[in-house]
Amino acid sequence: MSRPGALWVILRSQLVAQRNRLFKRNRAGLIAVTLVTLLFGGFAAGGIFSVGATAGHFLTSSVDPLLSATVTALSLLMLLLGFPTVIASLFVGRDLLQLVVAPVRTRDIFFARLLLAMNANLLISAIFAAGVVGVGIGAGAQPVYYPTALLLIAAQVVAVTSLQAILMTVIARWVPARLARDVAAGVAGLTGVGLYLAWNLSLRQTFGRRGRPDVSSLTSFVRPIDWLPTTWPAHALSAVVAGSIGTALFWSLATLAFAAVLLTMAGLLYERTLLSGLGIFGGAAVVWRRRVERPIRPGRARGAGSPALAIARKDWLGFRRDVRRLTRLLPAVLLPLGWVVAFSQQGRILSGFWSSVALVTFLSIFMSSALALPSIPGERRGFQLLRMAPLTMWQVLRAKVLTALPPVLAIILVFSAVVVLTGKDGPGQLLELLILGLWLAVGFVSISVSGGAIDPRFDATDDRRSVGVLGSLVSLAASLAFSVLSIGALALFVFGAQATTGTIDIGPIISTPELGVAMLGGGVMLVAAAGVLVGSALWIANARLRSFEGTIAAT
């Protein structure tokens, strides 16, 4: 009986690992993840399919530039968003060491790991494939269009993943692979921010007075990049739509040949890289080294040390020195800045005080979840140090809230001021917005810290995966409830104050001072309810942390 080949052995172990990761986890968590994936995936793919079908139907003469732009955008997105996954699969990971020292051909390692590396790119391409299929349906393409589209998109995934591997074999000569992965993750995050802002701007344009669809700009954009290999699958597919079989065959073969060339090059360069020990083994210590430490300056006794300050100082030092965390913070900071820049332009500003309130609320949730949610799980094994110290979990929670609050508060207050100034609101409204920002920051940070403490994953190596589904959902639900209560309270305070002076018209209800007082009373009750909500979240978090032993038993 012949033994299975090394490639198959590695692939099988990867499949078993993936299966275990999926099915040997909390059943409720698995269902929640599946539902969220289906919901968002379906929403994204459905949306893109509809756009493709509509464009294919109404812009039949522009199918080639449409498809060229789509496949180029897909390739660019895969290049940026999928890069961290490619680095992690092919260049980082201790399990790679086992494969390297085993009597296995590098080619087998490359092909087996390439499948893992393509995960993110396949996910992105699946969403875009919906758009390409939509164009075909809209344009009334022949049945052969669809398998050709899937084949060419698959070839594009292989080509881009191979290109990423090639780039990394070059980068790994100077930069440790782990650092490159962290920087790539940062670039991916920035790309996400850029896309989000672009989407918002396009929405404003679509629904704004000036908005009118115009394909001429798309055609003029595509013309200079027409020669790029990313447009070849588009040429092939548009030729299929036009019924030009010879042209379609030519561009399809060119696409496949290009992918094959890149794949071969990547395989060869990967082999050389592994043999020279770069990527996995090389230069990791450089990441951890810093400049010479300042000499010890003995000072006078300052009394007992403060655990809360010690935790805050430790977190700050860790944050400053952790490239991965810094790269995660960068998009979080740039998003509000980009937003302000984008919307402060003439004709794009969201007018009105309540629009500013909505913006500040959104930003508070966003910043809190980025900075405060992973603050307790981010302790990783160090959490056990805190558990063993003579500290209550209340003290730990308080220290974490106090550590995460200043940066969130600073960004929100600056943002509030900018929004009010660009919106040309008065100083009274600026004060109201600043008070709201302060209240929201304290509330959302407390809720986010609690969410992280309710379902921490101390064994996660990445902050983005350090909070379980339950913690994330609790944090999200509590944040939404808190924002509804807080904005409701603000509305009651603002309108109630106006009602007491009789300066407001609130529809069919007759505005009287008594009604104003009642509204102010209602506002106080909503504030109290919001306070109780935050207190409850912290109380549950404290109870969970005190009894937590999930990963302690395992690590």
Partner: protein
């Protein structure tokens, strides 16, 4: 010094049980370690040593039973008990993005040690003792396993706890550092610190510990001095390794090797 000598128990496990779902990791473990004693806690891999230690230091809540540190129930009065003890895991809990000195400073603050010249001098002495002073500016993330073990030990010693729970403290240390740790533990015990030493390096246990407890499949199978264990096992003149193997009733290693080689040939 044994419980019968009338010494004061600094660490006491009373019928400790820990279950993870249907698995019983620790099943009714009881023993006492006296003040100023180095007490060995021995067992094979997966026998329940680390789980027991983690219950004693308050990291895991016992399913039933009580863990006492200097007579204080760690679950009933955790802060008072934790202030008295130091625990070193076999993989020390350290923060990779801090330097050695920053980490010691952090731990000293956690335990509310007064800051100032005395603390700085003590940190410098400990870093020198463990040959870490010349790692000026290097982050713990770049330390070797042995260096992490040393900084973990230093973080315990900086605050002079009265009870030390050590899980494989010489793991990964070079011979010189291992010797240093052994000498240090003897010196600390002589000054009244209680050391509960969990290890499967039996030579270390035999050299350092006056009494040992042997745990097997979550249960204590023997507690006592070497002489008491010999009587229990009925093996006069046997060393700790022989006693351990006999008391944990595993198959003879020679027999296993012969079977293995027969299968290979």
């Amino acid at each position: 010094m044994t419980p019968l000598d009338g010494g004061v128990a600094a660490v006491e496990a009373r019928q400790l049980v820990k279950r993870f779902g249907v698995v019983t990791a620790v099943d009714g473990v009881s023993f006492q370690a006296m003040r100023g004693e180095i007490f060995g806690f021995l067992g094979a891999n997966g026998a329940g040593k680390t789980t027991t230690l983690r219950m004693l230091c308050g990291l895991l809540r016992p399913t039933s039973g009580t863990a006492l540190i200097d007579g204080i129930d760690i679950m009933a009065a955790p802060l008072a008990a934790k202030a008295r003890l130091g625990y070193l895991d076999e993989e020390p809990f350290v923060h990779p993005h801090l330097t050695g000195r920053e980490f010691l400073d952090f731990v000293a603050d956690l335990y509310r040690m007064p800051s100032g010249r005395q603390r700085e001098e003590r940190m410098a002495r400990l870093l020198n003792l463990f040959d870490l002073a010349d790692k000026n500016g290097e982050l713990i993330g770049g330390y070797s396993h042995g260096m992490r073990q040393k900084i973990g030990l230093a973080s315990l010693l900086i605050r002079e706890p009265s009870v030390l729970l050590l899980d494989e403290p010489t793991n990964g240390l070079d011979p010189r550092s291992a010797r240093l740790v052994k000498d240090l533990l003897e010196e600390l015990a002589a000054r009244g610190t209680t050391v509960l030493l969990s290890t499967h390096i039996l030579e270390v246990a035999q050299a350092l510990c006056r009494r040992v407890a042997i745990i097997d499949h979550g249960r204590i199978v023997a507690v006592g001095t070497m002489d008491e264990l010999r009587i229990l096992a009925g093996s006069e003149g046997a060393n700790l390794e022989d006693l351990f193997l006999k008391l944990t009733a595993g198959p003879e290693s020679r027999e296993m090797i012969e079977r293995l080689l027969e299968g290979a040939s």
